[in-house]
């Protein structure tokens, strides 16, 4: 049997549905006349399991083999995710200006292979403009660094 993308997706959704049922254990289901907090989550989880199984059953008619999925763009996506995650982790600690300049420079230099000078200058200008727009013009507080900016 050829493993198809819908086999994987359907199984993942069915497993997620089962996980919801397991996590809903301590939520009261209630009665039909007085449904509890666990009523709709269990209903939705049941539907998710049903649709997941349907997807698996119809996989051979409707979906392409798993190996046909083009993951070439993962070379772009993975570093973007890592750099963004690092930026989020730093955001409230190092403040908006330092974090965003560092994040944009990292994206431009490490992912896009641009010159560090151009990347640094561009990042600094747009981050300062954004800071001015949000913090000064729109008076929306942005996280500050331990150095006070």
């Amino acid at each position: 049997m050829i493993l198809r993308s819908d086999h994987v997706a359907g199984a993942a959704f069915a497993a997620f549905g089962l996980l919801i049922v397991a996590l809903s254990g301590d939520l009261p289901f209630g009665r039909l006349a007085m449904p509890g907090a666990g009523f709709l989550p269990n209903l939705v989880a049941g539907l998710m399991i049903l649709f997941g199984v349907l997807l698996v059953l119809r996989a051979s008619q409707e979906s392409a083999p798993l190996t046909d999925i083009d993951w070439n763009d993962l070379q772009h996506a993975a570093p973007v995710i890592s750099i963004t995650a690092a930026g989020i982790a730093l955001y409230t600690r190092a403040g908006f200006i330092i974090t965003m300049v560092a994040m944009m420079v990292a994206l431009l230099v490490l992912v896009e292979r641009r010159s560090i000078f151009r990347a640094g200058l561009y990042s600094l200008v747009v981050v300062l403009l954004a800071f001015g727009l949000f913090a000064k013009f729109l008076r929306s507080p942005l996280p500050l660094s331990p150095f006070g900016f």
């Binding site: 939520l27 070439n72 963004t84």
Partner: protein, 510 residues
């Protein structure tokens, strides 16, 4: 009718206030830029810019956000015609004949026809919206919990039926959205659900981190910069006016596109995308020279561009009159109104007439602004298109982070955005459309409340849904749609949705 005209006058008195005019202009300008730039769709544009509107009142916020929405429909055509890259999904069909016209030296004419067609269709849509929405809202005032439950079920099934992916996939996405919408404190019993002792999850998962993650970040992850390369054709200003023959060829396609687009816009689903595909197919079918399609047919630009603008206006009818989001964009707009303490739905017209009528009137003004904005500023948009995508997307990620963080100053929301970005990327890889997920998330609280209230009202008797005429009618339509899907599945027959999906996939890969 007299009441409507009187109310519309009230709307114009609101929309023509200088501050509201300014926000309509800003929305149209930003929307056009969002439409022009490949990689940012109207949904991600609206989601990213949503926090900017928190400092405004509800009327200004919705005027600006709606301007971004219909402005993006105008702007999408510029990139399609000049670069053969759809600025956003509904402009895919304009690429074919619009770019062919540009290569023949008629780029200016194609842009002008797209802009005028969009204006006519947009204005037509608003006129019908003005007439239809108030009586529909009056009817919806009779809705109780069973009717709302049935209406939301119909909305989800309609969305699944109209989707170009399969019914099962769409319903799976909607279920996932419903589940996300149930995270947090249960309003009726006070139980914490799936919050894992994180106080930030007590209020549930917000629509902004989910929408920005799925559509803003998810789109960036799936779009490596090396894939966004294109030559921009720079039209000359003196070539902007179409010839008399080109005007003549575009008149009927604009009229047909306007009506078709508006009707499809009312129906849940990615209406603005579907309408442009159907309009293109219709124009090719009725044309005396179908062989010209693909080689620069005027109707191939005029029809789809009019249809997608009319559809984006049509989508406001159920949103404003029933509080029913027909797609992720209207779902985000409903979320934006809720942030300002205004609930979209039948009470909107009676409780907040200034918001409703101010918004409707601003669309008349906004469409005129877009017409005035698009053609003279085409040179600027061409310059914007020359900014390398490699420099653009880090900027978009920064706005995503700011936008999500500023909603409630919670870093947990920003992490949710990142997780949703990764989920959106994975869903695309496996052929799922994430739009129904956002819809499920938005309707989850209303759906759960109305379902549970209905059951409590009837002492646990499901027959309450068959005892109320409006509810039973809505459920019959839902059952009919499910039956139609089941028949076409059982007979393994390709219906119009399958054909549409094939065209969409074919164009997407070209």
């Amino acid at each position: 009718m007299e009441d409507t005209l009187h109310s519309l006058m009230l709307g114009f008195s609101v929309a023509l206030q200088p501050s509201n005019l300014w926000y309509a202009f800003l929305g149209c300008l930003v929307g056009t830029l969002v439409g022009v730039l490949p990689g940012i769709g109207p949904l991600s544009g609206i989601s990213i810019l949503l926090p900017i509107t928190f400092g405004l009142n509800a009327t200004q916020a919705v005027i600006m956000l709606a301007g971004i929405y219909y402005g993006s429909q105008y702007g999408g055509s510029t990139t399609s015609i000049l670069m053969r890259i759809p600025g956003e999904a509904s402009s895919v069909m304009t690429c074919i004949d619009g770019n062919a016209m540009a290569k023949k030296g008629r780029a200016g004419a194609a842009l002008c026809i797209a802009a005028v067609g969009s204006w006519i269709a947009g204005t037509f849509g608003i006129i019908v919206l003005t007439i239809v929405a108030p009586p529909l809202a009056t009817l919806a005032l009779r809705f109780g919990p069973p009717e709302y439950t049935a209406l939301l079920v119909l909305g989800l099934i309609f969305l699944a039926y109209m989707s170009s992916t399969s019914l099962v996939r769409t319903l799976l996405m909607a279920c996932l959205g419903l589940f996300f919408g149930m995270i947090g404190i249960d309003n009726m019993t006070g139980h914490f659900r799936y919050s894992f002792d994180l106080p930030e999850l007590g209020d549930g998962i917000g629509i902004v981190p989910v929408a920005v993650g799925l559509f803003g970040l998810g789109e960036i992850l799936a779009t490596p910069s090396k894939n966004v390369i294109g030559e921009v054709i720079r039209p000359k200003l003196r070539e902007l006016l179409p010839s008399r023959e080109e005007w003549r060829q575009s008149a009927w396609p604009i009229a047909r596109g306007s009506v078709l687009g508006f009707l499809i816009g009312i129906i849940p689903g990615s209406a603005h995308i579907i309408s442009s595909f159907l309009s293109y197919a219709l124009e090719k079918k009725v044309s005396k020279h179908p062989e010209e399609f693909g080689k620069g047919a005027v109707a191939g630009v005029a029809g789809p561009e009019s249809a997608n603008n009319a559809a984006s206006t049509g989508a406001f009818v159920p949103m404003l009159a029933l509080g029913l989001p027909t797609g992720p964009i209207t779902a985000v707009l409903i979320g934006a109104l809720m942030v300002h303490g205004v609930n979209a739905g039948p009470q909107l017209i009676t409780e907040h007439p200034d918001v409703f009528w101010g918004f409707v009137a601003s669309m008349y003004v906004g469409n005129l602004m877009l017409l005035a904005l698009n053609l003279p500023l085409v040179g600027i948009f061409v310059t914007v298109l020359r900014i390398p995508y490699a420099y653009l997307y880090p900027l978009i990620i920064m706005f995503c982070v700011i936008g999500v963080y500023e909603v409630s100053h919670s870093i947990v929301d920003v992490w949710i955005m990142l997780i949703m970005g990764m989920l959106g990327y994975a869903l695309r890889k496996f052929g799922f459309d994430p739009a129904p997920l956002v819809l499920g998330l938005v309707i989850a609280p209303v759906f759960e409340q109305s379902l549970r209230q209905s059951l409590i009202m009837s002492n646990g008797n499901y027959m309450i849904f068959t005892q109320r005429p409006i509810a039973v009618m809505l459920l019959i339509v839902s059952a009919g749609l499910l039956l139609m899907s089941a028949i076409s599945f059982a007979l393994k027959r390709k219906d119009w949705r399958a054909k549409l999906a094939e065209v969409e996939a074919g164009e997407g890969s070209s």
